[in-house]
């Protein structure tokens, strides 16, 4: 996997580089601001970029803005936002154009190296990796829109994990149930959300988008 890192804190930038290289990925460039990120992505065409949200010069959301510009210009490149904070408006902007190839994690999550690397690989492969915090915020925000009210607590749990970008087998491991049980829950979710049988992947994305409140 070819990765570009944009992070202004040297300690984290070098740590991330080392972490990814240790796992056999290639870090094409490690830059410190949004403009450099766009240049590096144009030059190296990576599979995925890890982007800090707060970077110079204004230290507010230039990472997010660079990531949005990058998604427009290179839709095939995954973006994993990486921040000390989860902001609802950031999640909403990031997910506006669909949840494929998008991730948004708290910096804390890097502590679990294996999970972090798995999340990054998912995003690089066009999947989704959302921090549980993002999911719970968006869930609260979408709570009033109904539709989801009919889901059982267990189904809601499954849907939340789907929104984080997990596969059925990963969900089964997480919830300590059989794969068949997860499939049953997923089918029930599709029915309750009124998603007709189709190619299952498509329905999965639609369910998650519905859950996240995106107009899909």
């Amino acid at each position: 996997m070819r990765v570009v890192i944009a992070e202004d804190a040297a300690l984290l930038r070098e740590g991330l580089t080392r972490l990814l290289q240790d796992r056999g990925h290639s870090v094409c460039a490690a830059v410190t601001d949004g403009d450099a990120l766009l240049t590096a992505v144009a030059e190296h065409q990576p599979d995925v970029a890890v982007v800090d949200i707060r970077m110079p010069p204004t230290h507010t959301d230039e990472g997010l803005r660079a990531a949005l510009a990058m998604r427009k210009a290179y839709p095939g490149t995954g973006v994993l936002m990486f921040s000390q904070y989860i902001e609802t408006s950031y999640s909403a902007q990031l997910l506006e154009g669909g949840a494929a190839g998008v991730g948004y994690l708290l910096k804390d999550r890097v502590a679990n190296v294996a999970e972090f690397a798995a999340a990054l690989e998912r995003v690089a492969g066009g999947g989704t990796a959302l921090d549980p915090e993002v999911v719970s915020q968006l869930f609260r925000a979408s709570r009033q829109r109904g539709g989801l009210a009919t889901l059982t607590p267990r189904e809601r749990q499954v849907l939340a994990l789907m929104a984080e970008g997990r596969s059925n087998s990963a969900i089964a491991t997480e919830l300590v149930v059989s794969g068949g049980a997860v499939e049953k829950h997923v089918a029930s979710i599709f029915t309750k959300l009124g998603l007709p049988p189709d190619e299952s992947d498509n329905r999965r994305v639609l369910a998650v988008l519905h859950y996240l409140g995106s107009p899909a």
């Binding site: 740590g15 204004t58 609802t88 502590a111 915020q137």
Partner: protein, 438 residues
């Protein structure tokens, strides 16, 4: 002693030749004319206004005339201040601007109670004797200037050798004794000496009377001392409020770039170390690393909450963004509508944000509500209005809830207002109004 005397005498005699004297004399002229004119205009309008307004029929016209006189006095005051600043280099701040009332009666009432205007009126009235002396001083200076040129006039314009002797009339600056006639060239030197004396006298007279006028201008046309103090206090308070907002933002940034970043790096390094351990390595080491990592993560979570309490980072992108995150983390479903025109000052945004946070927390704790709505918008009058409504049980009391009382205090640091409407049975609406600038 003799040296001192000579020095003082030198100053006195040379004074008429300085620029300052020219300015002071010009001030006597212009200021005197403006003073006399202002006096008559003011007194006529006041007299008419007062007499007419006493009669039943003329009340309206009389009051109109009075308010017109008051407005004009403010203008005259401004003219006098400008003259003093231009010619005397004596600057006096303008009194606070007039704040019009609302409605016809409100406007009238405010006008008639405009203290600064009444003080300007009193200046116009007191100025008359001062203006008289100033005009006399200016006239004396003019006479002095004319008189001092007599010997030259005599030779150039009046008498050529062999011509007839035409006597010259010399103007007497003193208001008694009458003017006198000059019949010979040497006599004109006497007039020139009188002219020089006039200039000298006018110089020092101008300084004396203008010194008095300065005091009047300061006392009657400047801001009253209390108003001055209040505006000074408002200015320093704004600075203090903005300073503390900036300081808090700096603290948050330092935390973000310092402790939080280091802890995240620490957690990452511990994670990498944990990865390197094989399953057959010492279990205690693994447990210790796990514990260290948990501690680092907890510290990170604590710091994140702390930093949010100091300065929520989303505020950098404006209130709507910050409030959206706030609403999304509320335990009771909360929706936000926002319409922000001009962006408020950072200190105001911070106050509005923390008000919203506190009100949501209050509603969560006490209201048993199912839904909270947050509305924030700017109004054309320069007010930021925050409304937090819940459909709970009501009965909130601003006087007896420590949370609401604290908010009232916080809001009042920038002259904001908070009103609570919470009938028993609900719904509760708390409205916070803040100026756009601290």
């Amino acid at each position: 002693m003799a040296d001192d005397f000579r020095r003082v005498a030198g100053i006195i005699v040379r004074a008429p030749l300085t620029r300052r004297t020219v300015r002071e004399l010009l001030y006597c002229g212009f200021g005197g004319i403006a003073g006399v004119a202002g006096f008559w205009i003011t007194i006529v309008m006041l007299a008419f206004g007062l007499t007419i307004s006493v009669s039943v029929l003329g009340t309206v016209i009389g009051l109109l005339l009075l308010t017109l006189a008051l407005r004009l006095s403010r203008r005259l005051g401004a003219l006098h201040r400008r003259l003093a600043s231009w010619l005397l280099r004596y600057r006096v701040d303008a009194p606070p601007k007039f704040v019009p009332g609302t409605g016809i009666l409100g406007r009238l009432d405010k006008r008639l109670r405009d203290r600064a205007a009444w003080r300007a009126v009193s200046y116009s009235l007191v100025k008359l004797p001062v203006a008289a002396v100033q005009l006399y001083t200016a006239a004396t200076a003019c006479i002095g200037l004319v008189d001092i040129t007599y010997p030259v006039d005599w030779l150039i314009f009046r008498h050529h050798p062999g011509g007839p002797v035409r006597p010259m009339v010399a103007v007497n600056p003193v208001p008694f004794g009458g003017n006198f006639m000059i019949y010979s060239w040497p006599g004109t030197f006497l007039v020139a000496v009188v002219g020089a004396a006039c200039l000298l006298a006018a110089t020092w007279l101008a300084r004396a009377i203008n010194a008095g006028d300065r005091r009047l201008v300061r006392a009657l046309l400047g801001p009253s001392s209390m108003a001055e103090r209040v505006s000074e206090l408002e200015r320093t308070r704004t600075l203090a409020v903005e300073d503390s907002a900036a300081a808090l933002r700096r603290v948050e940034r330092d935390l973000h770039d310092g402790a939080q970043m280091r802890l995240a790096a620490l957690a990452m390094n511990l994670g990498m170390a944990r990865e390197k351990l094989d399953d057959d390595d010492d279990a205690t080491v693994r447990e210790l690393i796990d514990a260290a990592q948990r501690n680092a993560m907890n510290a990170l979570a604590d710091l994140r909450d702390l930093a949010r309490g100091i300065h929520p980072p989303a505020l950098d992108n404006g209130l709507p963004s910050a409030l959206a995150t706030l609403a999304a983390s509320s335990a009771i479903p909360a929706s936000v509508t926002a319409d922000i025109g001009t962006r408020p000052a950072p200190a105001i945004e911070t106050i509005a944000y923390f008000c919203a946070a506190e009100l949501i927390a209050n509603a969560t704790k006490h209201s048993y509500a199912n839904q909270i709505t947050i509305n924030i918008h700017t109004e054309r009058s320069g007010v930021l209005r925050l409304e937090v409504t819940d459909d709970g049980i009501g009965g909130a009391d601003a006087a007896h809830g420590s949370g609401l009382t604290g908010l009232t205090q916080r809001v009042s640091t920038v002259d904001g207002r908070m009103t609570v409407s919470s009938p028993p049975g609900g719904p509760t609406t708390v409205t916070v109004e803040l100026p756009l600038k601290a």
